[in-house]
Amino acid sequence: MRGMNDYILEFDKVTKDFPGVRALSQVSFSVRRGEIHGICGENGAGKSTLVKILSGVYPHESYQGRVLFDGEELKFTGSSIRQAIEKGIAIVYQEFALVHQLTVGENIYLGREPRRGGIINWHRLNADTQEILDRYNLNIPFSAKVGSLGVGQQQMVEIAKALSEKAKLLILDEPTSALTETEVGALMEILRKLKEGGVTCIYISHKLEEFFRIADALTVIRDGMMMSTMPIGEARTEEIIKMMVGREMTERFPKSKHQVGAVVYSVRNLSTYDPADPRKKLIDNVSFDLRQGEILGLAGLMGAGRSELLTTLFGEFGIHTEGEVFIEGQAAKIENAREAMEKRISFVPEDRKKQGLMVKDSILHNMSLPNLSQFSSVLWINGLKELRMCQEFVESLRIKTASLLSVVDSLSGGNQQKVVIAKWLMSRPRVLLLDEPTRGIDVGAKYEIYKLINELAEKGVAIVVASSELPEILGICDRILVMHNGRAMGILEKNDASQEKVMTLAMGLPLNGTEER
């Protein structure tokens, strides 16, 4: 078998469509048996779609093309991810699926505990666990509660769980996003041992340096298309970055003639600690200035800390933060949303359904919620004034709805997003923080939102836009602050910025020579 086919996994012209979007387009690549194969790509390039095809979440009828595993076509029915596990494909996700209250052994064998006559055979379970941990040199006590372990060790438990199922192919999806530097080192060590033991590994990441440390081959994808597969020895950083971002600016961005004025908002040495791990900084010493009528982009890869930065600035993140914020030169203390709103700062959160809307309530009630004090006293809400004001915003934002009393759930994604934005514009902000303002909405709606952002800038609002879509950031922003691992890597001026430069900074690499500011 080995002689016949040296490849354990082959993608053959795989195309996967979602309504309105082509997630994968004619993707073909092969993974050699026993190698560590890196896959890299920008946010939304199609990495997770690949993983979901391999895990069986997307059944084989839902995509075109063939996926061969061990020379045999995979035909998952999508009913259960057990099918993939039985074939020998194991996946360690970014978010661990572990039960914190159970021990390492109990987690590894969860749902398939060795039994004797219907009763769990604890001796067997413990012995098997110890054997797996020993075989791969994983240094964790099998009887420890998973909740008491650090993130790195938890990940080892996930890997052990995958291996205990006799995996032939191990897929690691962004394995280092939550790890410290030492933990990354330990992970690399384990992967090397696994490789010696004959396990093939697909390593998905957007951190280039990790591929150079561990991978044998690298596949680059962009916008659902295979760009190239190469042995790691032939890979060059600049070329990879070019392949990852060399996207046509197909989306159109509206022209804007907004004027940038004086500095209205300054952030100095801002740091925020992880609420789950008080030693870890999620935002590390970030400083920037924002001018009146300016649109500042916040770029960075997944986990760079964009959302955390905005939420911190709105006073609603974490327990422990350091640093100072100045509004029009005055030091401002903002510890919750109310205080932020008093300072006329508005925040449009990333996840509209979870953080922005009461989806079962009316457009009217959603829009007026943070602004009720504008048309109410303690004993009375002026319902007609409320209606009229919301009506004004529905019209100026061109929200398509039959009535202000319609339930938000009944609107399209783009219109829902407009409701969230309207809700925050009614409070007439000086500083507007937008987190992924165009996520999950169609191109036409995106264009309208860009237009709206420009109009606001023209009126003198200072705007920060965090986005994972590079063309969007480059298309609408005056300056771009690039983040990596919670740190500000640099600020690029619009005419100086390119996708390559932003991506280089976002990956934590220095810009060459004079381009750096």
């Binding site: 919750n336 949303a337 979870k354 009461m358 989806v359 009630h365 943070p370 009720l372 209606l387």
Partner: protein
Amino acid sequence: MKKLSIVNQIRMNLKTYTMIFALLAIWLLFGILTDWIFFSPRNLSNLFRQMTIISFLAIGMVLVIVTGNIDLSVGSVTGFIGVVAAYLQSILFAKGLPALFPQLTAQSIAALSTALTILLCLVVGGIIGTMQGAMVAYMGIPSFIVTLGGQLVFRGGNLGITQGKTIVPIEESFKEIAQGYLPNNIGLVLATAVILIIFVSFLWNRRQRKIYGFSLKPLSVDLLKAGFFSAVMLFYVLIMNQYQGVQNPVLLMAFVALVFTYLTNNTRLGRYAYAIGGNKEAARLSGINIKANIFQVFIFMGLLCAVAGIVLTARVAAGSISGGVNYELSAIAACVIGGTSLMGGEGTIFGAIVGSLIMASLENGMSVMNMDVFWQYIIRGLVLIFAVYVDVASKKNR
């Protein structure tokens, strides 16, 4: 802005129609089973008086549930405040007031005693609400636990005050709160006044909408609506006048229901409560003080328990150890039947009132039928479970 089509309006109000249909079906059933005794003016008068106590609790419970909480102590608190009222009336004030104010006539003493009792009961209710609310909102103890503990605490308080005995007598003026009737002609005058207010407010509302530049529904639709409400009310007053007149507690209930309907729809407190239940995270990011809102809601619940306790003692004309037992079940059932969602964020005062009427009708009907008490308990318990099931099932379908 386009108008909602008639079909959409009907669909939006489907829950209300189902509820009223269920009520009519239950009435018809009991009518047949009791040889139409159920529909005698006397029994209807009793029925509406019975429903008031549960209504007060259900009105407060709507707000509590809307914020995503629950209050299991309302029955015990009602019973506790009921015996506090009886204790004040028949022991403390009966002896204390004549000693303090020897110059006053017996009649004035009685009036003073009643007024002070009402005031003190409201204070006690407010304090209880404040304490439970603080524990839920500021100390972070789940409301389920706080009020489950409270249930036993106030049941104990009740036993402590009564020492296991029934406390009598109650002043006549105090009994009037629950047992009295409006004279027939005053009832009619009041009804006429309210009808006038209904029509004037409908027209006022139209004028305002016009001033603010909104489209108007056809005048006939508004007039029909106003006419319907007026007719229902007038019909009620006429039926009640055939017995002894409109009951005082029903009047009180109508007043409280109006106040709280206003509170839920037209004040920030109400809006925030719905927002918190609808999406806590969005509410927090909208700058709402979630703790303060939940705290306030529990204070209102405490005050309404006090009202219920006062009416209870006035109705049975005694403070007894069994007062208020199981009222929390009826109140929660009334809310859920009336469309309040246990997930929070949804529910109306009007619904809770209709729900209370349904629960009271069940109790009343079963009593008129002379059904064994054990069956009554079983059926009421099952009705609660069924009502929640309907709520859960209707959510799943959407």
